[in-house]
Amino acid sequence: MSDPIISVRGLGKKYHLGIASRHDTLRDRLADTAARLFRRKETSSAATTEFWALTDVSFDIQPGEVVGIIGRNGAGKSTLLKLLSQITEPTTGEIRLRGRVASLLEVGTGFHPELTGRENVFLNGAILGMTQAEIRKKFDEIVDFAGIEKFLDTPVKRYSSGMYVRLAFAVAAHLEPEILIVDEVLAVGDSAFQRKCLGKMQDVSARGRTVLFVSHNMAAVTRLCQRAILMQDGKVVMEGPHQKVVPAYLHGGFSTMSEKAWPPGKRPGSSSAHLLSTRLRRLDGSTCETADIREPVGIETRYEVLTNGQIMIPNYHVFNEDGTCLFVISDIRSPWYRQPRPAGVYESVAWIPGNYLAEGTLIVGVALTTPQPEQVHYYERDVIACQVVDRMEGDSARGDYGLQLPGVIRPLLEWQTQTLN
């Protein structure tokens, strides 16, 4: 094996919590300094709250590898990307990079709303590290890829958000770095455009470039990456072929759990209601981490209403692993629909029928709302999740077809087939 193109050793990043808010103005700083002069001990305590976003992270990446970095929110993925992109400085350790790095932490960094499409292509290209000559050479290709020829001389503030994203991605896609660092940029745009982006990233890797890819989209990670690095609490907990790491993330408790309960004092909610627990369950009442596509899955919340007399409607928000919202559903069947509720503990379950959603991850947010005037008592986003799997036994909608099937739903429909003549 050749020398690694990226080599990370003992990387750590410490943030001082509270400093930013504490010393925002000179007055605070002066007051703080004055207070310290008079030896008031408590003033320094808040300023020394430390938080290690990354600790002792080490890995090597070989030229030409496409590596996915996965982990749940707050695992340190973004911090790692920021360090690799040189946006912020490590507290300990070092990173060795051999080659031109392009980092796309978002698309359209530096796009200025007042400037035209043409002007922004040149500005953005320069910001991403392209030379003017390179941009001029690729200009037509970029415009073509984005499909915005007619609006080249219109300020981008007048673009639709779709056009804006396409142009921004088009510039980024035409970078020719040795190392490409990408953060979830695929979470934007419509699905046709997302496919185009994935295709472009496959091209990049096919040309032997190294790609580092942070994503929550396990399907994309599986498709694009040979290797994955799983992070948790600022550390690398697993690394290896995606066939090993992605399932470990999805099933092994590294990912969002299918059940969550809050202890007293930590319960999300308002003064009139709070959430006690939520989970995904089967018909028999057991908690379900992995659901068979043929089985119904229940979304359950238990919550306590603290004051009498308010109308409250539980509602659930279901997403897939791409972040696409599959549906939002409110409880309109309960006896308390449009009726004030007495105080007490309630349980609400919504049943997703079997043979209804496609296989993949279901990520659920739960909320409790009072209408007119609207008040959201709690809304816990992405709080529980489970895997829907298709065991391919021939009686689900896919029949005996064994390859990847697109689509967010997979219902069993009524078919009528008959011989004519």
């Binding site: 960094t109 500005l123 320069a126």
Partner: protein
């Protein structure tokens, strides 16, 4: 691309306490510098009805007001040349300086989205903000020549010194922008201080009056505390001729102060920039 590979090979590790300016890296990013400077110019006059004419109107109107105020009302001496010319020759550098410090000191905070999303030498941000004002300066300079023709002021070889005094003015603006821009990231108080400073500066600098009216015993302190005074004198001298020779000790002390502010500003900026993305 491969020919640049050496600059791309890098080691990222915690930096030392005091970092010098990395000039080879800045040189490498020179195209981005021009792009950013050009963006600043474009953006300033987008969606304005009269566009770059604003660069002309502001100094012109200030000149008229100052001439009326200081010549007709306060009856201050002009030193020989038409009072309007005397004021305009001073407004030329002052306007550049005050615009450059205003945009330069606010540049980092307004580039928040860049700083938190992508790496390039942060120095480019205040530097390109200062440079973007050079276009306005150029336009005002053209107006200056037109006024000279109008008032029949002769051109002397001293005019060749103008770029030198411009460089000093730009250095002062950049030095101050480095300090204030970096401080502004942490303490937004700076954005309240700067407009105040430039407004006061306009009146305490020899813009509406000539520096000959400064009492002898305060001169050194005056020029040292306000280096722009010396540079303004320099502009008057090179435009209006020998009668406006600057007070050399003042110009020298002002230049030294400027150099000091610029160098310490660069070091302060380099040590502060590593925290920009975390605290901005």
């Amino acid at each position: 691309m491969s020919s640049f590979s050496t600059i791309y090979d890098r080691v990222i590790r915690p930096s030392r306490k005091l970092e010098a300016v990395n000039f080879s890296e800045l040189w490498f990013y020179r195209e981005l510098f021009w792009q950013l400077a050009w963006r600043n110019v474009l953006v300033r006059y987008k969606q304005t009805a009269i566009g770059l004419a604003w660069a002309v109107l502001q100094p012109l109107l200030t000149m008229i007001i100052f001439t009326v105020l200081f010549e007709k009302v306060a009856k201050l001496p002009s030193g020989g040349a038409p009072y309007a010319m005397v004021t305009f020759a001073a407004l030329l550098p002052w306007q550049f300086f005050s615009n450059a410090v205003t945009t330069g000191s606010g540049s980092l905070v307004s580039s928040q989205n860049l700083i938190t999303k992508i790496y390039f030498p942060r120095l480019l941000i205040p530097a390109s903000a200062v440079a973007g004002n050079a276009i306005d300066f150029g336009i005002t300079l053209v107006l200056m020549f037109m006024l000279m023709a109008w008032y029949a002021v002769g051109v002397s070889p001293l005019l060749l010194l103008l770029p030198f005094f411009f460089a000093l003015t730009a250095a002062a603006a950049l030095g101050l922008s480095l300090w204030l821009g970096a401080l502004n990231v942490k303490y937004r108080d700076v954005s309240h201080v700067v407009p105040f400073l430039t407004r006061i500066g306009l009146y305490v600098s020899p813009v509406g009056f000539i520096s000959a009216v400064i009492p002898e015993k305060y001169k050194l302190a005056y020029y040292t505390l306000n280096p722009m005074a010396g540079f303004i004198d320099g502009f008057r001298w090179s435009i209006l001729g020998a009668g406006y020779e600057p007070w050399w000790p003042g110009l020298l002390s002002g230049s030294l102060v400027t150099l000091l502010v610029l160098i310490t500003g660069a070091y302060y900026f380099r040590s502060a920039e590593r925290r920009f993305a975390d605290i901005i």
